[in-house]
Symmetry: C2
């Protein structure tokens, strides 16, 4: 059966976003700097970036699809006409909507009946390949708490945010087995198998 | 001039100790498991352990010297007659006391006039070699907040404690430069240079 993976970048003090998340700063104060490793050191971090994009189906929360701020049902998400997923993406939302086919193989499918349903649909689409829970943090926490993630891949940025949204608050008694460590100057990558 | 280093083991969610710290469980519920890497994988982690013990003078908080629970001025600390430091140790306390010479080269010196004084005395003792802030977390936070640490070495254990004492809460705007990453199955070691 396919694995369910989840990649997230966190600060050294455990935040996925800084304080004051808002339309102009969707990752909050200082939060954008978490992701410097992807943009400033793409070659040193090629394997990790490839890992994020190798799934055959994705699941994401409504805000990660739609972006910050107001949007209506005409809105085609904030990923542009050719999103980086190149695969079916299942968006958790309360709004019923027809699938939205983008360029390059990405189709956004809107799931209104919860995370287990989204996972079943994503598994169906991925076949024997991996399903990735793409985020945001609240969606990741829901899947972690429900015991539905097989591999958690954290990308720990060398910065302290001090406040904001914490990834691991309230996920319960997570048992992890560390399987791989690597890094560059802007990030430490750690892979964890979630033990059931 | 000598560097000031600080080694601490933290959970993936940033705790140095679990909840309910008490005499029988000084690291709180589940906290002892943070340090499994030292005891169960000493060979795989030899370089990190050596790094912790290579300083030529140490600074520690009162509780780290004395251990949990009640103690009087006859108490010789909880490190046994031959503590692992083999160097002068400066203990932050409010209690004036003569230096206590142990076996193997460790002398506990009791400093009642604050962290800057402890650091000056430790630097004097270390000469050109490193001074280590040995802990606990509150002492480490005081030194971090005051900008007195040159190298922070975190040992991140693959476990989630959920609650307890957080290392990095309230240390302010810490600027870090990541210089080295390594790991074994029970820990990820990351070295950070603190940028002033």
């Amino acid at each position: 059966m396919s694995r369910v993976t989840c990649d997230l970048t966190i600060s050294l003090d455990g935040f996925v976003a800084g304080p004051n998340q808002r339309a102009e700063e969707p990752l909050g104060d200082g939060g954008e700097r978490l992701h410097r490793w992807m943009f400033e050191e793409p070659e040193a971090n090629a394997a990790a970036i490839e890992g994020i994009l190798e799934a055959s189906a994705y699941i994401m929360g409504r805000n990660m699809y739609a972006g910050p701020g107001e949007w209506d049902e005409e809105w085609r998400g904030w990923w542009g006409e050719e999103p980086p997923y190149h695969a079916p993406v299942f968006v958790l939302t309360h709004q019923r909507r027809e699938p939205l086919e983008m360029q390059g193989g990405t189709t956004f499918n809107f799931v209104t009946d919860g995370i287990e349903s989204a996972l079943a649909q994503a598994r169906e689409a991925a076949g024997s390949k991996d399903v990735a829970v793409a985020g945001g943090a609240e969606t990741a926490r829901q899947f972690l708490s429900a015991g539905l993630i097989d591999e958690l891949r954290l990308h720990i940025a060398p910065m302290v945010l001090g406040s904001g949204e914490r990834l691991l608050d309230g996920v319960g008694d997570l048992k992890l087995e560390q399987t791989e460590v690597s890094g560059s100057s802007l990030v430490t990558h750690v892979r964890y198998r979630v033990v059931r």
